[in-house]
Amino acid sequence: MGAAAEPFLEVEGLEKVFRIRRRAGRLRRERVEVRAVDGLSFTVPRGEMVGFIGPNGAGKSTTVKMLTGILAPSGGRLRVAGLDPSRERVELTRRIGVVFGQRTTLWWDLPLRDSYRLMRRMYRIPAARYRENLDRCTELLDLGPLLTVPVRQLSLGQRMRADIAAALLHDPEVLYLDEPTIGLDVVSKSAVRRFLADLNSERSTTVLLTTHDLGDIEQLCERVLVIDHGRLMYDGALAGLHEVGESERVLVVDLARELPPISGLDGARTLRTEGPRQWLAFPASASAAPLVGRVAAEYPLVDLSVQEPAIEDVIARMYAGRTG
């Protein structure tokens, strides 16, 4: 289909400058310009799931706010589904879904079902469609027993799932997710990820995912956009990001007894030891299996775990590599 190549999100030379007044003495104040987004360009085709990452204050949420139309850009061009977000905000709100991990849109004191009925009115969802979508979300996000429970009584994981359902009842064409798995336990995390993956493949909903959790990105996104200081630092696959950043994973091994630092293993170096426990760094792009095999063969291995690199570290290293 020719439409597949048509970009759904179009961002070209996007800028946002804030003028902030700062104290510069007892009475005097000076105006300071902060360039939160500084010449950002990218496009996302319909149905793609993109990870949007960067350190705190990199300009991610400012960009999302411009994409959703609640903030007008200072410069550049912006189109979402062919609409100009800040000019056609209300029209756009009917076609987008937004989930903020740390914020809720649900009615705190009332049963969950009431909030969903409200969504139905708000987005004017036809009855049959509403029922179908609600049933689907209820089943896949396991909300059945929660519908009659007041929102304030839900656990964090339950509330997050409930919020995700609330954002999807009106069949949005694009879903913005901000830290959708923050604070969730392993079971809830994997339920949310599975649901999002299904949503993307079955309904071809375009998804822009902002997160600090590398696991989210790894399991959901083929493409990653890294931004820092309001600029695009990287656009491509996650694996490539590791290469660019030369990031390392860490193998933590518990040996039967305290031993001198493990050495002589190709591609791995011992970071530190603490009693019988040792930390071995190896390239993130390499498989852990051969390394584990060799340690197990040569040392009295009791237990092990692998630590993924934090996204901030990867980005920091990448940044250092570019400028340094």
């Binding site: 949420s61 706010k65 609640i70 937004v98 914020r103 009615w107 705190w108 004191d109 409200l118 004017r124």
Partner: protein, 269 residues
């Protein structure tokens, strides 16, 4: 039509949210009743010294007290309406989520507050008034038409009260701590509505001035309608006064909101 359906859902939600907290309602009724007694005895002392003070006889003055207690929660004279939640959402940045919805922020909160006021009128208004009528000789009208005129005036009072509180709540966009503003709002509300003393009691030009302020629309006007101090054309004039303030303050609220929304991002999130 569909918009009406949305906002009536919000309104019903507002009603039911407050209906959830039964213990709080009972505690509120108790407080209103106790205050009613304190004020009623004070007014009795005052009016026996100065009969016809403010143009009311003693029965009317006592009725004024109990109207005030019955309407205190409904028009949220001492706070306790939507504004606390709204300020909280502004402070935490949650208000950004509300802006992603295809709704009108002001109408949304209005609908929610009307639902709350409806619940408070029934849950917090009827009982203190009944206790007051049982314990004192009140000058309550028997004509249904006066009660109907009063009901209209109460609705308009809630609109004005909402518009004032909306403006105060919007201050949260500029002030990180809006407790001071809330306290100021409560003080102004309690004094200038006639809650402490009917506004007609105040002498001279001050007395005339306070009756022209928006707070007069929240208690003084509806109370005068029920007491029969306003009749015929005066009732309509009272409604007009309330409606006028509601319209002006709504418009100002919208303008301030437009300014405030531009600040959302500065608070982060």
């Amino acid at each position: 039509m569909r918009l009406l359906l949305l906002y009536s859902t919000v309104l019903r939600g507002g009603f039911r949210r407050y209906a959830t907290y039964r213990v709080a309602t009972v505690a509120g009724v108790f407080t209103n009743t106790v205050f009613g007694f304190i004020l009623a005895y004070t007014f009795q002392a005052l009016w026996s010294e100065r009969p016809r003070l403010g143009g009311y006889d003693e029965a009317q003055a006592l009725t004024f007290v109990w109207i005030g207690q019955a309407m205190l929660a409904t028009v949220a004279l001492m706070g306790g309406g939507f504004e606390e939640e709204f300020q909280q959402r502004i402070r935490t940045g949650d208000v950004a989520v509300d802006l992603y919805r295809p709704i009108d922020l002001q109408l949304w909160w209005l609908a929610s507050d009307l639902g709350r006021a409806g619940f408070h009128l029934l849950g917090r208004g009827v009982a203190p008034m009944a206790v007051g009528a049982f314990a004192f000789d009140l000058a309550l009208p028997s004509e249904p038409s006066v009660w109907a005129a009063f009901a209209v005036s109460v609705l308009l009072a809630v609109l004005v009260s909402f518009a004032v509180r909306y403006l105060f709540a919007l201050c949260a966009f500029w002030l990180l701590d809006s407790h001071g503003v809330s306290t100021l709002s409560t003080l102004l509300g309690v004094f200038f509505s006639g809650m402490l003393l009917p506004l007609t009691v105040f002498p001279g030009s001050f007395g005339e001035a306070v009756q022209q302020l928006p707070w007069a629309a929240m208690l003084q006007v509806p109370a005068d309608v029920l007491l029969g101090a306003r009749e015929g054309g005066d009732v309509v004039a009272g409604w007009g006064f309330q409606l006028g303030w509601a319209a002006v303050l709504f418009a100002v609220g919208r303008a301030v909101q437009a300014l405030a929304v531009r600040r959302v991002v500065v608070q982060g999130g």
